[in-house]
């Protein structure tokens, strides 16, 4: 396969390189694209140095099979037609096309077949918090349709990019020296704080991040009546998002059946042994592929409810890994 990565020097772009190598994706040729600022940088892939080309309207995508794009919604909107014109399938990590009727929004474990019907040659990768949630919702939904979801998130700094991780470390260093921390990447100081504000606020009082979880979940799970209310919160963690989730299903489910369904599900690893202090935590999930699920128990406030806790590296499964899995699904099913 001839592969391109657009946004190669960003946190997700770098993860694409690692995931393509680690999953032995069949790469015949690789081209890297980036901004003028990134152009000329070289990155190693399978032992070879590959230079970043500047992305312009003269960039040639003919012959490319898959273009993994993660350079923000503006770049995706501007270059989508250009990238796909020659037949490349664009797998887009931005929010630009996610709710577009002609663009499938895909998490392979949940709605893989949707990837096979992409009339614009664009497939959207969902929001990172949504990906890890729907991977966990899917086995429960298979036992009994889910009606409602309440979810609060504990989102890592890396969701705002590599420089946001640097800012968090820098804030701790400044505070340790008794100096005022630099605050640029987040609305407020993140060190020793939590911030209930990710992305911009909408008219209904929810943030755009929270509304992504609401809208994207319906589309991915083909459940227009599945309603999600989310509170998204940034926490001073480097990498991997955590989520406390309550679901209400149509039928009351035995907790053992739910745990069994999680254990059997593709992409999930259950860590649920409280007696041994074992449950998912972001510190242990960084750099790992699975969606970890634990703290599985009855919802004491709802006889048809269950509650659990998930953790996943939002740069792996929440972004690069999921996108590469989409490409792999297409290769395997076409």
């Amino acid at each position: 396969m001839n592969v391109a990565i657009v946004g190669a020097s960003g946190a997700v772009g770098q993860e694409f390189l690692r995931v393509l190598e680690q999953t032995h994706f069949p790469v015949d040729s690789l081209r890297l694209f980036g901004s003028a600022r990134s152009a000329g940088r070289t990155f190693n892939f399978n032992g070879n140095d590959v230079s970043v080309e500047e992305l312009t309207e003269q960039s040639d995508f003919s012959g490319i099979d898959f273009a993994f794009v993660s350079a923000g919604a503006g770049v995706s909107l501007k270059y989508a037609e250009h990238i796909t014109r020659g037949g490349a399938v664009m797998i887009d990590n931005s929010s630009a096309f996610r709710m577009d009727r002609d663009v499938p929004l895909v998490v392979p474990e949940v709605n893989g077949p949707d990837a096979l019907d992409a009339p614009r040659n664009i497939i959207a990768n969902p929001n990172c918090t949504t990906i890890q949630m729907v991977v966990a919702l899917n086995p429960v939904n298979s036992l009994s349709p889910i009606r409602r979801v309440h979810v609060s998130t504990y989102q890592a700094a890396s969701g705002a990019g590599a420089s946001a991780m640097d800012e968090l470390v820098g804030q701790h260093a400044s505070l340790a020296r008794g100096e005022a921390p630099v605050v640029e990447k987040f609305a407020h100081q993140l060190a020793y704080n939590v911030i209930p504000h990710i992305d911009v606020f909408m008219d209904n009082g929810y943030t755009k991040e929270e509304m992504k979880m609401h809208m994207e979940t319906k589309k991915i799970m083909h459940s227009p009546s599945l309603e999600v209310s989310a509170t998204c919160v940034r926490v001073p963690v480097m990498r991997a998002h955590s989520e406390a989730i309550w679901v209400e299903t149509e039928e009351e489910l035995p907790i053992e059946a739910v745990t069994e369904a999680f254990r059997a599900a593709e992409g999930i690893e259950v860590i649920d042994d409280p007696a041994q202090k074992r449950y998912p935590m972001p510190l242990h999930a960084a750099g790992c592929d699975p969606v970890y699920v634990g703290r599985i128990r009855r919802d004491l406030a709802n006889p048809k409810g269950i509650t659990f806790w998930t953790v996943s590296d939002q740069i792996r499964k929440g972004a690069a890994l999921n996108a590469v899995q989409i490409a792999r699904y297409i290769i395997d099913h076409c």
Copy 2:
């Protein structure tokens, strides 16, 4: 009033000294008690040095009007009868007596009158996460009875005591030097992590902290059918707990009426101006008295639901301040 503080050198004990001073509590005499290790230490109160006496079965509590006790459930159980024998009202910050039928569990804004009927001369101060939640639930419950609550917490290190705050700072310092952090106060490293485990695990998969929120809320609000499902999570914050809360009421409530009720409620300060990036955060709540409420909005997954976000300093309103307010309520109403 003749006042005693038991556990004077702990984080909550020290806060008792500050709160008694700052609220101009009518203190005629003050005695401090602690363990053998703390005995002899002196603390300043209203300009005078007061020495810590060792708490033993020979300690004399005769003449004491109010004993504020925060030295763990074991000490409370062992000394309760001794402390109250001479007529002192013991206001106990531990979990020892909270669910005792003859011991009122009091948050003055919610169920102040309960404090006036304490047959054992013991009044229990609720769990810190429960206090800030019921202060926020109460005005909503007055508009329409609350049936269910889903809550996830973001709890500060200081909930585990002053030494836990030191451990968190020390972990950051060790990590900055490239050294392995010391982990003693929590089950796992807290720096750059979140831990879904506070207090011990129960047979139903919930932690004791989560079950406190379930049980204590029913008792304080006189609502045996009000069901709470909580997920309690430790986050790397120094002081002040945050909570994402969803409530379902019997009747559908206009969001404006809910916001108005929060604004009018005693003990609450509404901070809800997303356009100006203003919402409650632990960084700004440390050392402050109110329960801050913000992010008030409809529950998109439940027509009879609303959701909001609260932050409060769990050593102030969550412990020392609430206990002193109980004493003040008794003085004002006896």
